[in-house]
């Protein structure tokens, strides 16, 4: 593990409460505008993800949005598929599909559903939405790279509630066994799930130690600090011959003050014009 990284060691009190920069606010506004099409979506879980996805697609991943199946691309799976509003925002921003598709979110004639589907959405590597599937599929990608002697890398973004699924830990054991240094797990650790806080519902701690025990190199980082995320991600694998786990401390609903850490905004339906306007105003910064 590099000692030069700006990372936090504790799992609490490690999230920047500072202002978001313009790009982060714009991507969130894209999400809010997307919501007009369906008036529903997993808002909190998408807002906590923005900086993770932004840094991956701006600075880390190798891809060609005009050739989404390019064999040499890095693979990125959003295993917590309910955060797809954030993924759609970044994929549209990068030109994987026209931004006009966002206006058809969850519509009968659109390609963007409430969970992302492989084969329908350019840039989506696997259909997710039922929790606990993405890491195993990512292991398949990573093993394939090893078989083919290809140098692409695989990144899998997990949710914290998702990591209560046993299949995640089956997969973690497997990735550790195979020493998949071409595989990186990013956990969007916003510490809230549908019913309550993860501490209340099913505590995950000690989380970094769990990943280490399963054979990963694990670090913790402020998941809204773009510089810190970039620093960590540009150094993976953190240890030779080990997969990497990056625990990203985030805030559910980050960026919209009244939605932050507010369980009513985990999934919201029948979102009104007033609420949309209030979110856009909050994102003016």
């Amino acid at each position: 593990m590099s000692n030069s990284l700006t990372i936090t060691k504790s799992s609490e009190g490690s999230v920047t409460h500072g202002a978001l920069d313009k790009r982060s606010r714009e991507l969130r506004k894209t999400i809010v505008k997307t919501l007009k099409a369906s008036r529903r979506g997993h808002l909190g879980a998408s807002f906590s993800l923005i900086e993770i996805l932004r840094v991956l697609y701006d600075d880390i991943l190798r891809y060609d949005s005009q050739n989404p199946q390019w064999l040499e691309r890095d693979r990125c799976i959003l295993s917590k598929g309910h955060g797809c509003l954030a993924l759609y925002a970044i994929l549209a921003d990068k030109g994987f599909f026209p931004e006009s598709e966002l206006d058809k979110f969850c519509q009968v004639d659109g390609i963007l559903g409430g969970h992302p589907e492989y084969g329908k959405v350019p840039g989506v590597e696997a259909s997710t939405g039922s929790l606990g599937h993405g890491l195993s599929i990512g292991i398949g990608f990573a093993l394939n790279a090893r078989i083919d002697k290809a140098d692409y890398r695989t990144f899998v973004i997990l949710g914290d509630g998702e990591s209560q699924e046993g299949s995640i830990w089956e997969a973690a054991m497997c990735a550790g066994k195979h020493r998949l240094s071409n595989l990186t797990v990013l956990m969007d650790y916003n510490k809230h799930q549908s019913y309550g806080s993860t501490t209340e519902v099913q505590d995950l701690e000690p989380l970094a130690d769990k990943w280490r025990a399963f054979g990963f190199a694990a670090v913790e980082v402020d998941g809204h600090d773009v510089t810190a995320l970039r620093d960590v991600l540009s150094q993976v694998p953190l240890e030779t011959h080990k997969p990497t786990a990056i625990i990203c401390h985030t805030i559910k609903g980050k960026g919209v003050d009244f939605a932050e850490n507010n369980l009513n905004w985990h999934h919201k339906s029948r979102i009104s014009d007033n609420e949309i306007q209030a979110m856009l105003t909050a994102l003016e910064g």
Binding site: Y118, E125, A126, H133, S136, I137, G138, G140, F141, S167
Partner: protein, 314 residues
């Protein structure tokens, strides 16, 4: 049947660099040659079926053809959602080789009896299901599995079943294999109950009743048109399978018959496991006998239905 099937995976893998194998804690020494000669494509994983299916889907999404093997109950029930979403929804070429389809593991009890595998896999869009009757048929099937589109479940029998099939009819997935011809009754079966069906037909022949026996190795996609051609011309239809009566081959045929709206004279009966967990151990044959999956029951079903049918037309 299992050893032959796995040996063929090895032979096919030698010829095709896309082929990978994943086992879930299989018996010591399984496919040693594969492991030694093609270690990068051989994976012996732990007891974690959900992860294995996802991993197989990931490899298949990247262009590999993945054969996964473990006991039939574990490869169907434990990881059912992975089969639906990772394999079915992505429509990827993963081949599930299920050891001990049906009552093979009778001495081990209900935890190991794959009595519902066909029923639950039938509900998965894109999933295909094949149940060969013997090793000769397995040998004809396996080369066809390499380029077959989408996920495929291969239901294995116990092994050392008598060789009943021949290569007179070229084998194809999705095909019906006529084994006996007769216009009095139609016996439809899949997998190893072909033996009981044939023995039943022979006994019926001695009574002067000519029965057609159709072996249907592909339960899904069901060859509906060909089946309906046979069913429409024969008044009495009996199905026999080593599977619960709910949702298997018999159910599929019942659906066909019900929707075909035949004249009222059509008579139909399913033979299979009733809606119970078997209450005894013993051998596969013991349980087959206890629950009536035998040639005697085939004969009884056909003669019983014929009486009803004749009475109807009196």
């Amino acid at each position: 049947m299992r050893k032959l099937c796995l040996d063929m995976v090895y032979e096919l893998a030698k010829e095709d660099p896309r082929i990978c194998f994943i086992g879930s804690d299989l018996g010591f020494g399984t496919l040693n040659q594969f492991r030694e000669e093609m270690p990068e494509r051989f994976f012996m994983e732990g007891v974690n079926e959900a992860n294995i299916i996802g991993m197989a889907a990931g490899l298949a999404l990247e262009g590999k053809v993945v054969y996964v093997n473990t006991i039939a109950t574990f490869i169907t029930r434990r990881c059912f959602e992975q089969l639906v979403l990772d394999l079915g929804l992505h429509n990827v070429p993963v081949r599930l080789i299920g050891n001990g389809g049906g009552l093979v593991y009778a001495p081990l009890g209900s935890t190991h009896l794959a009595i519902d595998d066909i029923a639950i896999l039938r509900t998965i869009p894109n999933m295909s299901i094949v149940a060969p009757a013997d090793e000769a048929e397995m040998k004809r099937l396996m080369p066809l599995t390499v380029d077959y589109p989408g996920p495929l479940y291969i239901r294995l029998g116990k092994g050392n079943e008598p060789i009943l099939t021949t290569d007179e009819v070229p084998f194809a997935i999705g095909q019906v294999i006529p084994m006996r011809q007769g216009s009095d009754a139609l016996i439809i079966t899949t997998g190893v109950t072909l033996q009981a069906a044939l023995e039943g037909a022979d006994e019926l022949a001695q009574q002067g009743i000519a029965a057609t026996v159709l072996h249907v190795p592909t339960v899904k996609p069901l060859p509906k048109e060909i089946l309906l051609d046979y069913i429409s011309t024969i008044p009495v239809v009996v199905t026999i399978e080593e599977h619960t009566l709910m949702g298997g081959l018999g159910s599929a045929i019942a659906e066909l018959i019900a929707e075909a709206n035949f004249s009222e004279g059509k008579r139909f009966k399913r033979i299979g496991l009733p809606d119970v967990f078997p209450d005894k151990y013993g051998s596969q044959a013991d349980l087959m006998k206890r629950y009536g999956m035998t040639s005697q029951q085939v004969v009884a079903a056909v003669t019983g239905l014929r009486k009803k049918q004749l009475a109807f037309f009196k």
